[in-house]
Amino acid sequence: MKTQMIVKASSVEEAYELLNEHASHTVLGGGVWLKRLPRKIEKAITLDALNLDYIKAEAELVKIGSMTPLQSLVDSDLVQSLGSEILSKAINHVMGVGLRNLATLGGSVVGRYGFSDIIPPLLALDAKLVFHRKGEITLEKFLETKGSVKDILIEVIVPRKKSVGYFKKVSNTPLDFSILNITIVKKEDSYCIILGSRPGGAVFARKAMAFLGNKPLNTQNINEAVRLMEAEISFGTNHSATADYRHVLAKTYVRRGLEEVGNYES
């Protein structure tokens, strides 16, 4: 990225106005990913003065400001309490501390990266996003949108429901993108299974989820769920793995994840 000017917005509304002034105007989260892009920017708008770095508990929710650095999510007891730590553990798998202290939750969500290790657990935990103009929208809905996001993400809301989670990142080294990530969450009366970095964006294994309903996780049910996942989800090939290998990983780790979640239950 190459920027001509940096503007520190003094209100969310101002940030929004500036962002929509010109196609090249861009909001900076941590700016880490943006830095790598060959993009020319007229004005870079920062939210640094808007106090959006927070993790707050409310009765049934955790609210996380969009400018909260990833490392804060790793360290937060509140975030750790969500889905038996899957979110904080998943984020702990993103690069090293020097990057996690810069990259923000907002940038990680708005970027909608196919490789993301952060979006799948958020999805599984039913996260909602609060935008300045669009207002509240589920993360799931947001991921269906395309094109540049000319709105300001204010915070991410995660319900504090009791759930048990499993997250697995398969990568060549710990500093690598996921070859595949597998997220499984057992909720009160259902299961959620998500496959991310296929290398395309994260998807639900809906047929497997529908089949499982709130059935017990015995071998037979697990095998059927894995079979349905295999039939439903497609995988792609890129420089780090072939579709075939991703398929092998998916069926292995969905099975192991379900087993683990099942063991946790009993």
Binding site: I6, G31, K35, G96, V97, G98, L175
Partner: protein
Amino acid sequence: MKVKLLLNGRERIFSVHANEYLLDTLRNHNILSVKKGCDASTCGVCTVLKDGKPILSCSMLTARCEGANITTVEGLQDEVNKFYEYFGQEGADQCGFCNPATALTVIAMKKHLKDPNPESILSYMVGNLCRCSGYVAQNKAIKKYLEDKS
């Protein structure tokens, strides 16, 4: 534009372009312990402490550091000396290009991690690449330094 930093305990004002990153600002002003290894947030040799936390200076716009407390090994000589005692003892130093960044990360970790265990230590350190040492001697030195409560 003008940016005021508390750099290694001293107030400094730098005149920078909007697109200038902290790594370049520091190196242009003779803070040479901070290295450029990839300029793309993947190697860790540009690590500095911002308000006590390790960050990759290659990816931090200087303009966003207004008022921040920036520390490099130049400003932490005593503590680095202390860490080096263990590092040198283990023979963990080779080319040294990554060592100032390693030292800063380790020193910050000592403050940050209340109850360090091998897993949390590695998660903290994993972004600091080294191509010379094979890491094991470094990890031994880090462990000893963390145990040193003096």
